[in-house]
Symmetry: C2
Subunit: 217 residues, 2 copies
DNA sequence: ATTCAATTCCTTGTATACAAAACAGTTGAC
DNA sequence: GTCAACTGTTTTGTATACAAGGAATTGAAT
């Protein structure tokens, strides 16, 4: 009843990297990892190859694999891409969303508002994630959704930190309102713009990101 | 001076899959491939894991890896995502493109026009590819560019076929004109819309795609 | 003391051996 | 005759052994 170890290894390594269990450009020692997981080097190597393809680590021939900690520049680029992906999903969702889906979105939005009132950032984060997921669903574009979710996963630790920016949650709620309005009116361009602005890193958010990066060094 | 075989294997397999060297849901036999490349199973397996991560093959535990031939539905979804990615790049490019870059784009456009006049689809395809690459460059968003190029690579065989649609090249040139105009005016929304429309599969293109799919079965 | 070179060790890359699960073919029972 | 269980084969998944290329250390020479 042993379900293939390889998948667990991949997910665990992914998690370890994303949650910053490894230092900046640390080399991922195959032998050490093999011992850690209690397996031989082979499944470790296979997992590392996959991680390399997903962009979390870098393969330097005959040198080893190294964790890629994106710097400020890379992060801004990734957030920019995230903003565009969200905008695209919003663009499509505005054309395809159904009334029940709009109602469900409003319900989730209400939960966000409640979390804000209760001053519970974690709760807010959970519902906010669902809010965006519902937009992906409404877009009915599975490939685009995959791209968005992959990048979202990658940026998760950095997004979460934004919640602690003073006044960010209130602003976020206002943006949700704009998004909902545009979607309910079938306004593609408006939904795209609202979602883009919701994600994009600019102004104070940018400074906060930079400070966080400095702090984690 | 032997440069790691693994990379060549990966690229070759990628090429073989994309160019349809394998049947629909064919199992990629590790031993056969190992013999074909003159290596052991190990590097083959590593390459297959990477291919799995990039979405070209599917890993079924204890069963093997199978090539994923996207069906009509998946292809339409991929083209839709491609259209959105192009739109995003256009959106950013309109804000960031420089005068020299616009000039270069015009030059490439002229080459496309010349290829059209010479009735040379291959030549047109080459310059068209460069046209889009130049827009990616102007967008200055490397992550988005990566996404776009990966998907472009995946869709290459299907895009190429569109060129043989009667009247498609002429229409394409008109669209290039719209894109150029929007970019040169710094019109983000216009550039995005023009690029989206340039790629998206609809109307006759859709029927052509379906016919092609039927023909290749 | 510093620098350069050679040797040693360590790590990655590859091959092979082994284990275990799925598949196919056969045999047997109902 | 059909279906099920068993067995043999094939193929994946994992471990280990070996090869080869870097990195580090030691030693000598300037």
């Amino acid at each position: 009843m042993e379900v293939l170890r390889a998948n667990h290894i991949l997910e665990d390594l992914e998690q370890m990297i994303v949650t910053g269990q490894f230092a900046n450009g640390e080399r991922l020692d195959e032998i050490r990892l093999a011992e850690h997981f209690g397996v031989s080097r082979t499944p470790i190597r296979e997992a590392l190859h996959r991680l390399g393809m997903s962009g979390l680590v870098e393969h330097r021939p005959r040198r080893g694999v190294f964790v890629i900690e994106p710097g400020a520049f890379e992060l801004v680029q990734m957030f920019e891409a995230m903003a565009e992906l969200e905008a695209s999903c919003g663009h499509l969702a505005a054309k395809r969303i159904s009334e029940p889906q709009i109602a469900a979105l409003r319900a989730t939005d209400a939960l966000c508002r409640a979390a804000l009132a209760a001053n519970d950032p974690d709760e807010y984060y959970t519902h906010n994630e669902k809010f965006h997921q519902q937009i992906y669903d409404a877009a009915q574009s599975s490939y685009l959704e995959d791209l968005a979710k992959k990048l979202q996963k990658r940026l998760k630790p950095y997004r979460r930190m934004q919640l602690h920016l003073r006044g960010r949650l209130e602003q976020s709620m206002i943006e949700h309102g704009e998004i909902l309005l545009a979607l309910s009116q079938g306004d593609s361009a408006g939904a795209a713009d609202a979602l883009r602005g919701h994600v994009v890193v600019q102004g104070e958010k940018f400074h906060h990101l930079l400070n966080h990066l400095k702090a984690t060094r």
